[in-house]
């Protein structure tokens, strides 16, 4: 197992390097306005625009190594855009945006918001999705099953931007109630206000993810419960709760773990729509803004950060398989 983990980590380094190149290149070849133009402002004269391009390093070569037509056919650059970015990553500062603000500081401010949203959403997803999936599977074709399946389809069909808007609007309109909106409230400053602020958006996110988990748990459970060892367990006289809880559930959670891992990885990148509706200063809106405003440093760094999360989470999920299913052994 140790060798497996090390091998996976080494592969991850290669994956992340390729990811960094892809996002770096894509941002620069994507059509659109010059980033300096976006910063420069209204009626920006050409000389100021050129000065900004120089200041922002947009005139630097893309890579530290470039191919030339003259001998020795390779040119090295001390200042390159990729090199500067890579240096900022390895130094830990994560660089600065076009206005000179630290990406690291901004991420530090936003990550707790995203993490809290992620944790609450995941808790709600698991505590709603898995039990209802079990109920639905065990009580197949019962009223409970139909209700659960209908609810899950409904939750999947409703766009989360619409649901989120309703969750914000209806209480305000009917009862004069609104969660804190102007800024993120820390749990340690005011637990109640913090939960008031985070539970509604988490519920909106969890509606969709719990529905997916519920359906997956149900189908996985149904498949597992058809297995011979389940019949054997029953024929040994074990109570149904033991059969379901100890024998069926663990094996049915393998695909659920995969999907849950992907959902969690996605949430690490933020939830743009929900963050916008509830005005949560998370990573998602930060990334969206950076892409719109062509903030290369920010967009690259955040994409790479999401890549790291996904890679590590996938590894965690794979390791979790071995725990869930003793038949799975990595070498």
């Amino acid at each position: 197992m140790r060798r497996y983990i090390i091998r996976r980590l080494l592969q991850s380094v290669l994956i992340l390097f390729v990811l960094s190149l892809i996002v770096f290149i894509l941002l620069r070849i994507a059509p659109g306005a010059n980033p300096a133009l976006i910063i420069c402002g209204i009626n920006c004269p050409k000389d100021r625009l050129e000065a900004l391009e120089e200041q922002l390093g947009l005139n630097d070569p893309y890579f530290p190594v470039s191919v030339t037509s003259d001998p020795p056919f390779v040119e090295f650059a001390t200042d390159s855009q990729y090199g500067s970015w890579a240096t900022s990553l390895f130094s830990g500062s994560l660089g600065k945006d076009w206005n000179g603000n630290s990406v690291g500081a901004e991420l530090q401010r936003r990550l707790p918001v995203t993490l809290e949203l992620l944790v609450i959403t995941t808790i709600m997803t698991v505590t709603i999705g898995v039990p209802f999936g079990i109920i639905s599977a065990v009580g197949r074709n019962s009223p409970a099953d139909y209700t659960a399946r209908f609810s899950s389809v409904l939750a999947l069909a409703i766009p989360n931007f619409w649901l989120g808007t309703l969750v914000l609007l209806v209480p305000q309109d009917q009862w004069g109630y609104a969660p804190p909106i102007t800024h993120a409230v820390s749990f340690f400053d005011s637990p109640w206000d913090n939960l008031r602020q985070f539970v509604p958006p988490a519920a909106v996110l969890a509606a969709v993810s719990a529905a997916s988990i519920m359906r997956l748990t149900r189908s996985s459970m149904l498949e597992v419960m058809r297995q011979d060892y389940i019949r054997t367990a029953r024929s040994k006289g074990l109570r149904e709760q033991v059969v379901i809880g100890r024998h069926a559930l663990k094996n049915s959670l393998i695909p659920v773990t995969t999907v849950l891992g992907l959902q969690v990885a996605g949430l690490f990148g933020g939830a743009i729509i929900v963050e916008s509706i509830f005005n949560l200063p998370g990573v998602g809106v930060y990334e969206l803004g950076s892409l719109i405003r062509k903030q290369y440093q920010v967009a690259q760094t955040l994409t790479l950060y999401i890549g790291v999360i996904v890679v590590l989470l996938n590894l965690t999920v794979d390791v979790a398989y071995a725990w869930l299913d003793p038949r799975i052994r990595y070498s």
Binding site: N34, N43, K46, Q55, N99, T182, P281
Partner: protein
């Protein structure tokens, strides 16, 4: 979500001077205090801020508001987006002139100035303009002329400074004869000297010690408020605390210390729905309804709601490239203007809360031509448009190319388009649409890589900007954004430059009007359509909000108060 300007695409709200802090009514009697002038050459200190009679002001409270995008830095050298809104609260200008009523001046750091000739301004600095207590190590001293010198030096040295264009084109020399005397000489008489030097965009002046610091994240000056340390985030909000050393007193209230408000809290709420929810819930103290209908909804929800209507200093224009056929033909340009029914945009898009524009938009009041004159200069007559197209030698319908941003959320951009297409068809044109991704369109628009396009709707704070769109090399004088009919008629360029040459406000107004008439006679290629009315609502307890003189000037007023 509809956004209001070019910067909304990126910043999610237009430059926030008006939105952030502009507001309440101002008594006409009070204006006379500012307009009074004993001597043509020497201006005296303005009196106390005129304000609505809301009762006896109370000190204290926190005023909470929201911006809808990123700050775009609070470095006063380079800030162009929301930053200027609070720069005017932290730092100082010398003298600020109203854009709506150009004979009205507000004396800030300078208590008076003399103009011995048309290119020389001698400012007498006010004593006691003291820097706020701060954690940046800046001494709590009075600002003096060395700060003015350092500021202009910094602009000149910074290739990316917003005001660098002004210093390069117009600034000759400047000097400090004494700590309280500061002299500026321009290269020639410049009508927009006060607007350019003293607006929060590029002109608000920090103490010289700040110039050595990271001004993108820190702020301490002699303005009414000081930035609370570590409260600012580029993609977040900011908190400003009252400057206890602020030099102004309220002469109408026993010389009470200003500002009355203890704190300004600015949040960032990009989307309209949560912003509205926050306002209705009492989490913020101002909100910008999109329409009159929304204002009425809010009035039904919140008793005592104050509604402020102010003209938006912005518009969308039809921009034609007069170097490309058929727009190089004056009859065809005239036909495009005749096909424009500007009132229809006002009626359909903003339900009548606005007015058609001439070449200088109506919010600039003194500089704009009267509706009666505009009715003669830019009538609506689609049949005449068709006749002119044929007279120009073209068959009907005349095919023209048009680029526009397909995914723009600039305020009202997408609402102008269908109306315009319909009107052009009625006027004998057939438009070949070329929708482009927004940033692609922006680049093409900047490079004037178009036959025809809608303009960006930027803030046109002074008449200089819309008039400059008719210059041969466009508003930046280097071929970006537009090519004006000055390219075809050099006398237009001459007239525009001449319109900037008077430092007498009344003469300036007439020059601007005359240049508009000249441009009309040559058939302009930049056709502003309409400006609308902006609404701001505040709860009943937000008192004495400045308004009526134009956003840049009003930002320096700090005698609003909260009745809580």
């Amino acid at each position: 979500m509809a956004t209001k300007s070019y910067w909304q695409q990126f910043q999610r709200q237009r430059i926030p001077r008006r939105r952030l802090l502009a507001g309440a009514g101002m008594g006409a009697a009070g204006l006379a205090v500012f307009a009074a002038c004993n001597d043509d050459k020497k201006k005296t200190t303005g009196g106390a801020t005129p304000g609505a009679s809301d009762g006896t002001p109370k000190a204290g409270g926190t005023y909470r508001t929201a911006i809808t995008g990123d700050w775009g830095t609070i470095n006063p050298l380079t800030s162009v987006s929301f930053g200027p809104g609070i720069l005017a609260k932290m730092y100082n200008a010398l003298v600020v002139q109203s854009t709506r009523q150009p004979d009205v001046f507000y004396f800030e750091l300078a208590s008076e100035y003399e103009q011995p000739d048309d290119v020389t301004y001698v400012f007498t600095l006010r004593p006691g303009v003291k820097i706020a207590p701060n954690t940046l190590g800046i001494p709590e001293r009075d600002l003096d002329s060395s700060d003015c010198v350092a500021w202009l030096d910094a602009i000149r040295a910074a290739a990316t400074a917003v005001a660098k264009r002004f210093t390069d084109q117009w600034l000759d020399v400047y000097s400090a004869a004494s700590p309280t005397e500061f002299t500026i000489k321009t290269k020639g008489p410049y009508a927009y000297f006060f607007f350019t030097l003293n607006t929060p965009v590029g002109g608000t002046m920090p103490p010289k010690e700040m110039l050595e610091m990271d001004m993108a994240a820190k702020g301490a000056g002699a303005g009414a408020f000081v930035l609370q340390p570590d409260s600012f985030a580029e993609t977040g909000g900011a908190i400003l605390d009252r400057n206890v050393n602020f030099y102004r007193k309220d002469e109408n209230n026993n010389n009470a210390q200003l500002p009355y408000i203890d704190r300004l809290e600015v949040s960032r709420i990009t989307d309209r729905q949560p912003r509205r929810t926050a306002f209705v819930d009492g989490q913020i103290d101002s909100y910008d309804p999109e329409t009159l209908a929304e204002v009425e909804e809010l009035q039904n929800q919140i008793s005592g709601l104050q509604v402020f209507e102010d003209p938006a200093f912005t518009f969308i224009a039809l921009t034609l490239n007069p170097t490309k056929p058929p727009w190089d033909n004056d009859k065809v340009r005239r036909a495009a203007s005749l096909a424009l029914n500007r009132q229809q945009y006002v009626d359909v898009i903003v339900a009548g809360a606005g007015k058609p524009n001439g070449l200088v938009h109506w919010p600039l009041e003194a500089y704009a031509l009267s509706p009666e004159e505009l009715a003669e200069l830019q009538p609506y007559d689609p049949e005449e448009a068709k006749r002119l197209i044929q007279e120009a030698g073209f068959d009907l319908p005349l095919e023209v190319k048009f680029i526009y941003p397909a995914n723009s959320d600039i305020e009202f951009h997408n609402k102008h388009l269908p109306i315009w297409l319909q009107q052009m068809e009625a006027g004998g044109f057939k438009v070949q649409e070329d929708p482009q991704e927004f940033t692609n369109w922006l680049q093409n628009y900047t490079d004037v890589n178009y036959d025809a396009s809608f303009s960006l709707n930027q803030i046109y704070e002074t008449p200089e900007i819309p008039v400059d769109f008719h210059l041969s090399e466009g508003p930046t004088s280097d071929g970006n954004f537009a090519i004006g009919i000055g390219k075809l008629f050099p006398e237009v360029d001459e007239a525009i430059q001449a319109s900037k040459s008077s430092v007498n406000p009344e003469e300036q107004v007439e020059l601007v009007k005359d240049v508009q008439r000249l441009i009309y006679s040559k058939e302009p290629a930049f056709l502003p359509i309409m400006s609308w009315t902006d609404f701001t609502v505040r709860p009943a307890y937000a008192k004495n909000w400045p308004r009526g003189l134009g956003g840049a000037l009003e930002l320096y007023f700090n005698d609003m108060w909260l009745d809580i």
